[in-house]
């Protein structure tokens, strides 16, 4: 086998495409800004420079490993180079660290500390630019951009949206949308993947933390929370809980201590979605119209479809997302009590997603002119609130969600990962509700991280062809194929973010290990659930029998008139 020598340690070359991956394999955390294993190599930040035995200095991300190479990752010269790079980056950076959104989580900040920059010798000549607050999902602060291009490549390569790019040249270079349009006026879908790769706060999540504290303080407001499936396997990241472990119970406890009046599980909403969407699928298959049926749970995808593939808008399910369904039900459920108590119910949904912040403002998600979800808090914002409160999160005792929506099925919980919606719908449509069916569906091809997955099941004597796709660039490619007639399906699940909500823009970011642990965590939540089928959830049955009769369409579907 071929080897290269890294800091006098022999490391075998096993198909790695660049020296950087070998260095990381050797257990050395080499600093980077612009390198992401899933994006194309850009080689701009120069932080990953190393020195070889002949004194040549090069960027390890864009160097192919050659057998017999001898490199050093931390020589005096390399240290000096890295320090200068950071110093130069900091010289045109606003450096308001103490009041910055990213304080404590900023890659620039932590690398400045690691390489030991104690003073910046250069003056900042950059003109201050206005902050772009035009999107309900993200905030763009050009003064904090270090031009690593991570957002540019993520938006284009992973999401196929491409609203951001470099503009101008040399020292005048900036990252911005075409013609520096406000981001809210572009084709941006609000997925927040740019914010999760941004090493600084040049792109950050639009936060609503203050609004929530204000509401909690107000005695006339009944603050009701709903927690999305994917949040529970990520929130613990910030509190030393093993990756992927289910922290739902602790989060419920934390929210109650903070002052939330009621806490529910969005998986209940997901159960409702399963009921409505499977009904819709059966109807469309029967009539043969508007096939394939596209899922509509993911607001990033819905917006992408409207912007780029308007010809498929009618194929989107008319269902609201689980968040939307559940908020409408909650608002109606508390309406009488509100009138009696002289209170106002406010629904705060805790989501792995930044696009949900835009979804709640869409008129088609309103009921009779009423905004059903008042605020969306992302997982990272909730983490901040827990920290503000000073809670020892890991030590909290588990608590369960409030009645009457306290039960939710495993089917509703797997919505958090790619393939989950499909799997839950297939469970609903299965006639034989045994453990065997669950096993069969889980092996049908809907699980896993492959970009586009296919499955086919029998519904009576009709074969139903299914595709599951995640990452909008993958979705775009699939839609092109559907358009050209190269492939055809009856049901297509689309999630804007790769791997689904577990890696949403509102989650704490993470790499390969994080993704796998979160997916495993979600499936574990399912296997340990008492109810696995959405249609067997007693709380759902009760809701349909007593509360929803005749109002399914008004509360659970988007009003498209």
């Amino acid at each position: 086998m071929d080897y290269i020598t890294i800091d006098s340690k022999k490391v075998p070359i096993e198909g790695e495409k660049n020296v950087l991956s070998l260095i990381r394999k050797a257990g050395i955390e080499i600093p980077t800004f612009c390198y992401h294993s899933e994006l194309s190599i850009y080689g701009a930040c120069r932080m990953c420079v190393v020195e070889d035995d002949r004194g040549k200095i090069f960027a390890s991300c864009s160097e192919q490993p050659r057998p017999g190479m001898v490199i050093y990752t931390n020589t005096k010269r390399v240290q000096r180079y890295r320090k200068l790079i950071i110093e130069l980056l900091l010289s045109s950076h606003c450096r308001d660290c103490t009041t910055c959104q990213k304080n404590g989580m900023c890659n620039l900040q932590s690398l400045a500390y690691k390489v030991g920059v104690h003073a910046v010798r250069f003056l900042n000549h950059r003109k201050e630019e206005p902050i772009d607050m035009s999107s309900p999902s993200i905030v763009r602060d050009p003064n904090k951009c270090i031009l690593c291009g991570d957002c540019v490549r993520t938006c284009d390569e992973i999401q196929g949206v491409g609203v951001l790019d470099f503009a101008f040249r040399g020292s005048k270079m900036k990252v911005q949308p075409a013609f520096n349009k406000p981001i809210g006026e572009t084709d941006c879908v609000g997925c927040g993947q740019c914010a999760s790769v941004c090493p600084t706060a040049a792109i950050s999540i639009r936060t609503n933390v203050t609004d929530i504290w204000d509401a909690i303080e107000d005695p006339d407001i009944r603050v009701v929370a709903q927690i999305a499936p994917a949040v529970r396997v990520a929130v613990g990241d910030a509190f030393g809980i093993p990756k992927g472990e289910n922290s739902f119970g602790k989060l419920v406890a934390a929210l109650r201590i903070m002052g939330f009046d009621m806490v529910f599980d969005t998986s209940f909403g997901a159960d409702l979605t399963v009921m409505e969407e499977s009904k819709e699928l059966v109807e469309r298959i029967k009539s043969g119209e508007k096939l394939p049926l596209f899922t509509s749970c993911c607001p990033g995808w819905v917006k992408f479809c409207e912007n780029r593939y308007p010809e498929f808008v009618n194929n989107l399910s008319t269902c609201r997302s689980p968040q939307g369904m559940f908020s409408a039900v909650i608002k109606d459920y508390f309406a009488d009590m509100d009138a009696k108590d002289g209170k106002k119910t406010m629904v705060v949904s805790i989501m792995p997603c930044t696009a949900k912040k835009s979804e709640i403002l869409r008129p088609d998600n309103y009921t009779d002119g009423r905004q059903d979800t008042d605020f969306v808090l992302t997982t990272t914002e909730v983490i901040r609130m827990i920290k503000q409160m000073g809670l020892q999160f890991a030590e909290l005792e588990n608590e369960s969600a409030d009645a009457p929506f306290s039960v939710s099925s495993g089917g509703g919980k797997i919505f958090g990962t790619t393939g989950g919606v499909t799997e839950a719908v297939l469970r609903r449509l299965a006639n034989d509700k045994t453990y065997n069916t669950i096993r069969e569906i889980s092996y049908s091809g809907v699980r896993g991280f492959e970009g586009t997955k296919e499955a086919s099941v029998m519904l009576g004597d009709r074969e139903v062809k299914i595709a599951v796709v995640h990452g909008l660039a993958n979705a775009g490619r699939l839609l092109d194929k559907i358009k050209s007639g190269e492939v055809s399906y009856d049901f297509v699940e689309v999630m804007a973010c790769r791997r689904g909500c577990i890696m949403g823009g509102g989650q704490p970011s993470g790499g390969a290990r994080t993704r796998v642990s979160r997916m495993e965590g979600i499936y574990k939540v399912d296997t340990t659930s008492n109810v696995r089928y959405s249609d067997e959830n007693p709380a759902v049955k009760q809701l349909y029998d007593n509360f929803l009769t005749g109002r399914e369409h008004k509360l659970l579907h988007r009003n498209l008139s």
């Binding site: 284009d156 609203v163 790019d165 470099f166 503009a167 101008f168 949308p177 075409a178 013609f179």
Partner: protein, 158 residues
């Protein structure tokens, strides 16, 4: 929104090259030479036709100094401020042009759309320093007096 004729012209130019991403630069060059500037609406329009993201097309158009999103005057005055011209007092030429045309560092085009004034880094005619051009005509060894005369002549021609 521009007049329909602009989009028809763009269609015509795109048809000459083909709707591939690699033809973006020659297409927008042709559009610019047609209108003496690159109408932003047409850049977005062409990007869509070539299946390029608008932001990417904008990135290309702003990378090159030569593309301009602002409508330019009938006469484009370019003053060379390369090293050779600079040491032979090109700034005095520029100042005189500012005075004669009423333009400034911030304002590049006169309201009557007659003049646009730009500086360039080198025109490649250092032996003729200080040098300037009006559209494609070169004016060598300029002096402030010559500038006054030139502008007067151009104004008369209208």
């Amino acid at each position: 929104m521009l007049e329909q004729s602009y989009y028809e012209k763009a269609d015509e130019i795109v048809a000459q090259y083909g709707d591939e991403a690699r033809f973006l630069i020659p297409i927008i060059q042709d559009i610019q030479s047609c209108y003496r500037y690159l109408p932003p609406e047409l850049l977005s329009y062409v990007a869509k036709k070539l299946h390029i993201n608008e932001a990417k097309a904008y990135s290309v158009a702003t990378f090159y100094e030569n593309f301009s999103f602002d409508a330019k005057g009938k006469y484009i005055l370019r003053v060379c401020d390369g090293t050779a011209c600079h040491v032979r007092k090109s700034m005095a030429i520029l100042d005189q042009l500012y005075k004669e045309t009423g333009l400034s560092k911030e304002k590049h085009t006169t309201d009557d759309m007659l003049f646009t004034l730009e500086t360039v880094s080198c025109l490649g005619a250092c032996g003729l320093a200080p040098v300037m051009t009006v559209n494609d005509v070169v004016y060598p060894s300029m002096t402030p007096e010559k500038v006054t005369e030139l502008i007067k002549k151009l104004k008369e021609e209208g």
